[in-house]
């Protein structure tokens, strides 16, 4: 269902999709095998009883240099991938679990429930997303501590309205489709109609939003970390927090503490965006351009009206 159009896609969209997948996979590998890839732990500042140099530029021992706390930047970047992935997977999964059923129910049953939910999600939607995440993670960290879970949950609330909207609108229009009417006419109950007929229809649009939201979630997480509200530095390595520390270094011309975590964010977000857009272009035929190939008119044997 999903793979056929991808295989048949060609040219630029396919190339971008491929590049996006490669980048994303690279980060997944980094995240999963972080302890094997990174030379040190994210909070290691010494090895063999010897303290690392502070703010040392990139060298053979420390590829990306060290921070003011004498932490190895390379290791922090690698472990940062793990944190980012954990938060993104968690927040995308939870917002899917909440947003998709809500959207299905709201779109299917309609009436006051639908209106109420639409009003609420529209309100949340019009809220500056980072602001919402800041306040929520601030409140949640008071309850749950400074780990991955509160950050992921704060981000979840930001994205639920998006899934809700898309799923609700698709359900709303799909429910009027003749095959759903027919199913209802032969006595299928709401649960059957929703799970059998509507869900499969709605699920098509989910991969695209999910990848694009994942990209956005990484930016939100980094924003939280940058402001000091995300994951606490003692819990895990986080790129946004590292960049915040690096701002102070910048004045002294120390570039390596901020550049590498920043590049990691840019690369991963670009990768995920390319995947999302590539999927969108291949799954959504209306965006695809009919490929035009050069034509050559065979020349006529007759002399009249030579071909060009």
């Amino acid at each position: 269902m999903v793979w056929a159009p991808i295989r048949s896609s060609r040219g630029l969209p396919r190339w971008l999709l491929g590049a996006g997948c490669t980048i994303t996979l690279l980060f997944v590998v980094l995240a999963v095998f972080a302890p094997l890839i990174a030379p040190y732990d994210f909070d290691t500042f010494s090895a063999d009883g010897q303290r690392f140099a502070q703010q040392a530029p990139p060298s053979a021992e420390h590829w990306f240099g060290t921070t003011v706390q004498a932490l190895d930047v390379f290791s922090r970047v690698v472990f940062g991938a793990r944190t980012a992935l954990e938060v993104v997977v968690l927040s995308v999964a939870v917002s899917l679990l909440v947003g998709v059923p809500l959207g299905l129910v709201s779109g299917y049953f309609g009436r006051w429930l639908d209106r109420l939910l639409v009003l609420i999600t529209d309100t949340v939607f019009s809220f500056p997303p980072l602001l919402l995440a800041i306040v929520l993670s601030f409140l949640l960290s008071g309850l749950l501590g400074g780990g991955v879970a509160p950050a992921a949950l704060a981000i979840t609330v930001v994205y639920v309205p998006q899934y809700f909207r898309v799923v609700r609108n698709t359900t709303f229009s799909a429910k009027e489709a003749s095959y759903v009417e027919a199913a209802r006419a032969i006595g299928a109950g709401p649960l059957t109609v929703i799970t059998r007929y509507l869900f499969s229809n709605v699920v098509q649009s989910v991969p695209v939003i999910a990848t694009l939201n994942a990209a956005d979630a990484i930016l939100t997480l980094a924003g939280l970390g940058f402001l000091g509200y995300g994951i606490q530095p003692t819990e895990a390595a986080e790129w946004g927090y590292d960049i915040q520390r690096a701002i102070a270094d910048a004045g002294a011309g120390i570039w390596w503490t901020g550049l590498f975590p920043g590049l990691a964010i840019v690369l991963l977000v670009t990768g995920l965006t390319l995947v999302g857009e590539g999927l969108n272009e291949t799954l959504n035929p209306t965006l695809r351009r009919r490929r035009l190939l050069p034509v050559t008119l065979p020349t006529r044997d007759t002399d009249a009206g030579g071909s060009r």
Partner: protein, 342 residues
């Protein structure tokens, strides 16, 4: 052949490249238009009518290639520079499109469309002259001067098509191509628009190429008719004569498929128009033709002229010596055609 023709098309081909191969939308068309005459081009959807119409103005969609020649007053349009060709469009060659609702710039007043057009082609024209000429043409199309400064969305579909026709005629072009100008309009409005177009040949010396799938319109408004099938013109001639005595089986079947007051059952031509990437060999109509002969499936038909001014490309009309021995035996067909259709 007479030289009075204002537009003469010889062996015009317009092909588009696709992943499956070239689409032969127009494949070897010959036509001539004399001043003041109306030529109807009829055929089913997808037979290349619209591509032909655009090709006459040198307007080709992206990726299309054209061959052959389109001579306007003796000059081959395809040999003109882009600029020279563009300068012909408007003052000499005009076009009216199918869907008038989307053909006017939604952000522009009607007046602005006329101002742009007239300033482009008559650089020295004064504002007063622009207004005068536009209002005069609009009035002839039944648009009152009070609406001159309105926006397109303030007009109905029929009125927008009148505005489009006024835009097409304000420069008094020698040739006007109208591509299904009434298809998206309701029947009453359609009749009005057709009457307007039919009046053209009396009031202007404009030659009109009227593309339509509606044979009634051709009968009502056209002097001559060209019947297209799968990128070819299969029959041309005087509209009345062709309709009274169609020479090509396709024309005959097409006429039988139209609904009239005396219609008792619906007649239709079995099968669908052929795929223009891989059209049937020889006569392209032979898989659907009730009169198909052996020769029809093996050799391209030759265009013959059974009466003066009437041309048809069908083996039924010979030339007999080329049909060959046994070539006129009925074509035996497998029943696949029917299965395909279902």
């Amino acid at each position: 052949m007479t030289d009075e023709a204002v537009l003469r098309v010889r062996d015009l081909r317009v092909w588009y490249g696709t992943e499956r191969g070239p689409v032969r939308a127009v494949d070897g068309v010959d036509l001539a238009l004399v001043p003041g005459e109306t030529l109807g081009v009829v055929g089913e959807s997808g037979c290349g009518k619209s591509t032909l119409g655009r090709g006459l103005l040198g307007l080709l969609p992206e990726g299309a290639k054209a061959g052959g020649e389109v001579r306007f007053r003796g000059t081959d349009l395809f040999e003109l520079s882009g600029r020279a060709l563009r300068e012909l469009r408007g003052p000499e060659l005009g076009m009216i499109f199918q869907d008038p609702l989307t053909r006017l710039n939604p952000l522009w007043r009607v007046s602005e469309h006329f101002e742009e057009l007239l300033r482009t082609h008559c650089p020295d024209i004064s504002a007063e002259q622009i207004r005068h000429r536009s209002l005069a043409t609009l009035r002839r199309m039944g648009i009152p001067p009070t609406r001159y400064r309105n926006y397109p969305h303030e007009f109905s579909g029929g009125m927008r098509q009148r505005i489009m026709i006024a835009l097409g005629l304000v420069l008094n072009p020698a040739v006007l191509v109208a591509d299904e100008p009434t298809t998206s309009l309701d029947v009453l409005v359609e009749a009005q628009i057709i009457r307007l177009l039919a009046d053209l040949r009396r009031n202007f010396d404009t030659a009109l190429l009227l593309i339509t799938h509606n044979l009634g319109i051709v009968a009502e408004a056209c002097d001559r008719v060209a019947v297209m099938y799968a990128g070819h013109v299969v029959e041309t001639g005087d509209a009345r004569e062709v309709f009274a005595a169609p020479a090509h089986p396709y024309t005959r079947e097409l006429l039988r498929s139209t609904i009239s007051l005396s219609t008792t059952g619906l007649h239709y031509i079995p099968g669908a128009p052929p795929d223009l990437v891989d059209p049937p060999p020889a006569c392209r109509f032979h898989p659907r033709c009730p009169d198909a002969m052996q020769v029809c499936a093996t050799r391209d038909p030759v265009t013959v002229s059974p009466r003066p001014g009437h041309r048809v490309a069908c083996w039924l009309h010979g030339p007999a010596e080329q049909v060959g021995a046994g070539g006129d035996a009925p074509l035996v067909r497998e029943e696949i055609d029917v299965a395909d259709e279902a």
